[in-house]
């Protein structure tokens, strides 16, 4: 009798544990089926702006030099041609004609020169947005001028041995080389017209020596009171942008109607609830009621 009880209780434990196992596996399987899958991340992609390498030419004229020519003893007429590469790099050549006619009343000395000069170099646009029409740039120039100048002064009297001789030398030839560092800005004024100023630090590399005078004014460089000097330019610029830059469109790639995983679970549960309500004797009612996912309300 006792043995029978024992065997009954063992079999009951065995059955109940088996049932528990079956229930657990069943619940796990249901949970696996019902777990919402993570929505793959779809980043918003920005289509890179497209800009052709060659952006055209830029023609410029220096207004400050013209103003100096008209108002002071020296000035320049200068035109520049620049290539526009990706609106970032600007190889540049500047050709000008300089004029200087200085008379110093204290010493009665006159210095005259009219000569061309050439500068070559490049500018680099520092602004991040290369598509905008304004520019902030730094640049480097190499300048070169070969020129003649006239210098005349009063007769010099020898204080010891005596005698005097007029001092009037014409056509003294000289050649000068110099470097310039430029920093400037340019803004769009109207359509393809820009205006801009730049300040320039100039350093004289060499000037050929002659017997009569150190050149007082080097065309394109300026006065030679120091081996370095500051200069400036105020440019009127015309852009010939036939390879016109093109700003790339920003393409917002929105993900397909993806809803949050919880919301999906809520939706499915709602649907199932409705289905259950419509068919109360549905065999799946028990399994859905045991859904471990709790909707957020």
């Amino acid at each position: 009798m006792r043995e029978k009880r024992m065997s009954r209780s063992i079999s009951m434990v065995w059955r109940s544990s088996l049932l528990l196992l079956v229930l657990m596996f069943g619940m796990k399987a249901t949970a696996q089926e019902e777990t919402p899958q993570p929505t793959p991340y779809e980043p918003v992609s920005i289509e890179e702006p497209q800009m052709s390498f060659f952006q055209g030419f830029t023609l410029s004229a220096d207004l400050l030099g013209v103003g100096q020519w008209l108002l002071t003893d020296y000035g320049t007429l200068e035109a520049g041609l620049r290539l526009n590469l990706k609106n970032t790099y600007f190889p540049v050549a500047e050709l000008g004609m300089a004029h200087c006619d200085v008379y110093e009343p204290n010493t009665d000395i006159t210095y005259k020169t009219d000569a061309p000069y050439l500068r070559v170099g490049f500018d680099m646009n520092l602004l991040k947005d290369k598509f905008q029409d304004n520019r902030l740039f730094v640049g480097l120039r190499y300048g070169f001028a070969t020129y003649n100048f006239d210098i005349a002064g009063p007769a010099i009297v020898d204080p010891v041995w005596g005698g005097s001789e007029p001092f009037n030398k014409k056509g003294i030839s000289a050649t000068s080389h110099w470097l310039e560092l430029a920093l400037g800005v340019q803004v769009k004024i109207w359509k393809n017209f820009h205006m801009g100023w730049s300040i320039r630090y100039k350093r004289e590399l060499s000037t050929s020596k002659n017997n009569y005078a150190k050149p007082y004014y080097i065309p394109g460089y300026g006065t030679t009171t120091n081996s370095s000097c500051w200069g400036g330019a105020y440019h009127l610029i015309f852009d010939l942008n036939w390879g016109k830059k093109k700003r790339g469109s920003i393409k917002l790639q929105t993900p397909p109607d993806v809803k949050p995983a919880d919301a999906e679970a809520v939706e499915s549960e709602d649907a199932e609830t409705q289905e259950t309500q419509s068919t109360p004797n549905n065999s799946n009612t028990q399994s859905t009621s045991n859904n471990p996912i709790t909707p957020i309300k």
């Binding site: 602004l127 902030l136 010099i156 800005v185 017997n211 009171t225 120091n226 200069g231």
Partner: protein, 211 residues
């Protein structure tokens, strides 16, 4: 993240008004900073440095007087009397004749003193003629009766550093020689360009060696 191209600060910096203002400030500053750079030492001299016969730089203790010959001649009156020092004057002196001196009149080259009794010097700074091809320098020593004569052949040319600094006369040495060697052994050119930079131009080697 969408990157927006906004450069509001640059719009201000790059505005034409701002640019114009900056330009005028720059022009005013540039004009206000102009300064004169004329050389501080503007006297053009030929610089003679003293050396002993072995080439050591020395100072010469005996007072030296340097005279140069000028273009043209002048009349000199020489008074001599036995047992007395000969007097050379550029004007007539009747009192010397009354004292028994004999007078002789002659025409000689004009001259002038450039350096007067310079003693214990290591360097002589002597001006050069602007328009003569040759300068003649006569070195007279206080302790020596004999004199040295140096002839310098040179070119001269006007030079303007800057118009506000005026005109200077520079020289280029071509040749130098020395005669009547009383104290000087020989001379040589070390720097042909004579200007206001103060560089040594000529080396004068005296007889003897410094101890």
């Amino acid at each position: 993240m969408i990157k927006k191209y906004k450069h509001r600060s640059w719009h201000i910096v790059l505005s034409p008004l701002y640019m114009g203002l900056c330009t005028w400030v720059f022009v005013l500053v540039a004009w206000s900073c102009s300064s004169s750079n004329c050389p501080l030492e503007s006297k053009v001299t030929c610089n003679y440095a003293f050396y002993d016969s072995e080439g050591n730089a020395v100072t010469y203790a005996d007072p030296i007087t340097v005279t140069t010959l000028l273009p043209g001649t002048k009349t000199v009156y020489v008074y001599r009397k036995l047992g007395y020092i000969t007097e050379t004057l550029d004007h007539r002196d009747e009192s010397l004749i009354e004292d028994g001196y004999t007078e002789s009149v002659s025409e000689v080259r004009r001259d002038t003193v450039l350096i007067n009794r310079l003693s214990s010097a290591a360097l002589l700074k002597v001006p050069m003629s602007y328009y003569n091809a040759t300068d003649t320098l006569v070195f007279a020593y206080e302790s020596l009766s004999a004199r040295d004569t140096i002839y310098i052949h040179h070119d001269s040319y006007p030079y303007v550093e800057l118009p506000e600094c005026g005109t200077h006369r520079f020289h280029r040495l071509k040749d130098i020689r020395c005669s009547n060697t009383a104290a000087i052994d020989h001379v040589e050119i070390v720097n042909k360009t004579v200007n206001y930079e103060g560089k040594e131009n000529v080396k004068i080697y005296f007889n003897g060696v410094a101890e």
